[in-house]
Symmetry: D2
Subunit: 289 residues, 4 copies
């Protein structure tokens, strides 16, 4: 009928406009068709090969970081993560070593020739942090801490931006836009599970977010299998799924002795488990777009 035809035209016009809006975003693939490659001390993320990030949940001591770093390096890994400023639900939980933690990370990174990624939680810390770390991580709880996003956008350091606990994909993309709009396009997006009613896993890994983000933006996309599942037994299967669906890399937590870890002890891999994990995922080829 004519009415329906009009309806279709209306709908198409609306979509066109929305489309234009999305095109205007600097992170949008419509704005820039080629993949952005984030370069971290020579390591290229998003260039076709898989690049993973491993390390302990929290930096606890030089020895702990060193041991993990060596294990990661032995498997060919260049990117080391470790939390110095830990956002914790309770004020009475271990809050991280702070600047001391960043210094440990830097020392190990220098000794091992690796790059380090660490979460920053206060805009005021960004300027100091860039002297110690190679990638600024913005955690899930801070995905809409816009002051922090602006601060991270104003420095010349790659940023790993995690999806918020209950952020829509559209909000996630807009959070990245806060960073790029300040002049920093070295952004890695990281899917880490969303909060749902299902409690068999810590969060629900939204695996289809990966191809959507790759389609809508030109940024590399990683998957944090540790926080999305919260279960050691699911790290390997979800990592395989993430690689198969086109992720540019995996993030997972490794600790020399998870049982005594100061945080997240139930979900970190010990070193032998990690070695088996890496061996398994190395069998998989990255997906060519």
């Amino acid at each position: 009928t004519v009415v329906q035809l009009f309806k279709e035209i209306f709908k198409a016009s609306l979509e066109l406009q929305e489309d234009d809006h999305r095109k205007a975003l600097l992170v949008s693939r419509k704005n820039k068709a080629e993949d952005t490659v984030v370069t971290i001390k020579g390591e290229k993320v998003g260039a076709g090969d898989l690049t993973h990030v491993f390390g302990p949940c929290a930096v606890e001591s030089y020895e702990q970081v060193k041991e993990v770093a060596q294990a990661v390096k032995k498997q060919g890994g260049k990117l080391l993560r470790g939390g110095a400023y830990k956002p914790r639900t309770s004020p009475y939980d271990f809050q991280g070593l702070g600047l001391e933690g960043l210094k440990i990370l830097k020392q190990v990174a220098d000794e091992e020739g690796m790059a380090v990624i660490s979460e920053i939680v206060n805009p005021a810390d960004i300027e100091t942090a860039v002297d110690y770390i190679d990638v600024i991580q913005i955690g899930a709880r801070n995905m809409q801490n816009f002051e922090l996003l602006k601060a991270a956008g104003s420095v010349k350091k790659p940023v790993l931006l995690k999806r918020g606990m209950s952020a829509t994909i559209s909000e996630f993309i807009n959070a990245a836009e806060y960073i790029i709009s300040r002049g920093n396009d070295q952004i890695i997006l990281c899917e880490r599970g969303i909060r749902t009613y299902e409690k068999a896993t810590r969060n629900t890994l939204d695996i289809s977010a990966v191809p959507i983000l790759k389609q809508e933006t030109h940024l590399p996309v990683m998957v944090d299998v540790t926080h999305s599942t919260g279960r050691r037994d699911l790290l390997l299967p979800t990592a395989k799924a993430a690689i198969a669906i086109g992720a540019d890399g995996i993030m997972a937590e490794v600790h020399p002795d998870p049982a005594v870890a100061l945080s997240d002890s139930a979900q970190q891999m010990d070193i032998p488990t990690f070695e088996k994990f890496i061996e398994e995922i190395n069998k998989q080829q990255p997906v060519k777009a």
Copy 2:
């Protein structure tokens, strides 16, 4: 206090019993360690090779089903799906051809040497339906329609049980237990996405449910990529993820001309798209447990 301590011990004992209870479930891997293989007209689901299910959302005509069946068969597929009884949100939407639809499915299946899967929505229809179809599908909206589960458990036909729209994994497993407890162990579980706040996809594919279900039960697990995503552009990437994580097969909708489909037109593949889809997923090897 001592009282509290006792209370806690009681609670612990209760949990212990629950554990035992779970062990007692007939679908539980603790109860039976080996994988259950579901045999459908000689086709084995859960035996190590991938077995997929394709077909139109709804049976619309003999010609439509025939065309899809031939396309599926050409790609080596043996299992054909098609909805005859369609559960629709509005009473004014197309409700399916009913028994007429089952007859069309049976005719095509006989001609092509294929097996057919169709959803049954009324316990009273189960007895008639088994004369026409090879697998009874229980849809997401009926996962806790316990009368239907009991009826399906009382016949000698394989059942494909879909996860409810907001069912926990534990509720899903218990729904399967309703079927097996009546004597029918030929059950295929099917993850089809869960309802979350995220609206970029029709549902959120809970990919980690696959390894959990494989661990907790001895039943084969499929992934319905059509309903979990609701987006044609995500069918292939999510199918790859599902296979990589260990699914026993993929379910997806194929229609000769999706634009004129009487239901779900936005998410069905046309035949050329389907051929490309199958070619791509055939490159992947099933995951060995």
Copy 3:
């Protein structure tokens, strides 16, 4: 700008059409402006006064039902609930007394001059059930069991339709439309909480659904405070909120001895608690539309 103006016109046209569609629904207030009053053995639901429904979760014995009925009657209540067919997550949990339960309900109702409400779960049981009960309850798990809705729509008995566990308001309205489209307009809608990530309560009471349903439809709306909270300590406060927001009545579970109840023992009120509950809510006036 002209573009924006066009956009607004487009949007308005779309909304107009959606509006028309909604107007066409038989349950819609656009279709019928006056409130529907559901009459149950002379008791009027939706006529301005509050009408509550109390009773045990499950019918366990004549004595149990009798005791609760007398307590409810003493407080002026006319509507008694009790489950005879119990949909339970596990097949090994108490499934209800079935027809025997309906007979107990009828006997008590006859003796006390009350009306009874009980859940029916199989379309095949509807015809028999109408001889025993005064209101057919369709439970949350069956809100989209369309065969059951059609069967309930085909008899001349009031229906109390509960919102599905994760049903949208729009799906809820469409489920009622299945009933009314078969000729039965004696429908009470019942909000009973929705499934969310929050686990402090069994479900999350979606209190704003009440005014939305009153606005969009002409049907009476009740609130089940027992299943929405799952906590005895929240029954009274949520009942007060439900009345204040305009609900036509409250549904809550009462048991002579909740600790030994065969189901839902943690959330039923014992009789003294019930008496205090009713005394408190009787202080509140119904909201005039």
Copy 4:
């Protein structure tokens, strides 16, 4: 087995400790039985009478704030809200007037003898902000911005803490603990809806959070009806429900001309609507605990 039994006893002991831990929380009612009263320029929140907060979403100009302030004052209101730092999903949306906005608020507050509440988003701004505003608001997106919480806990100003978009009640309580643990116990909790699958409202008002928070903590609890519903037609009914369930006050947005508001135009009340709103809710008595 014995091993399992031991394991369970350990687990029980852990839970016991957690319980103790909760008891130990400074915000917990177990720690302090009496209600905390927050005093804002002589206005007492949580002392038994209802205290509401009204004002525009964003401070746009002196005239706009002045007009709303006078309307609020005319109705007996003392607490005025207005956003100067606006957290917005897109970096290209109006970000608020910043310090300029705080100055406008202060000027109006001084002229009208009112107290002002405004959101602060950067820990670095807290010290300056306290010179201009009477209550620091921590918004939903920053509920787990722990650096901001610590900063707010370190000053001598009341804090209005909003529940995070998908925060559990337990996380909300712990966020308040961050503030009180730094020495500031003048905290008002504010329920503002949680993110769920239901899209008929902007968020789902979790009304039962109010009695839970009143039970678990000694802090006053308000309900933001604007952000929980996102619909002007639901402001009044949800406010009534909130008061009936025991909230200490309502927060809602008022704008002289919502249609031209720079943010949230669809959900703010204009002044005549506000006057009718306040007249209606003034009929309700606060709930005595």
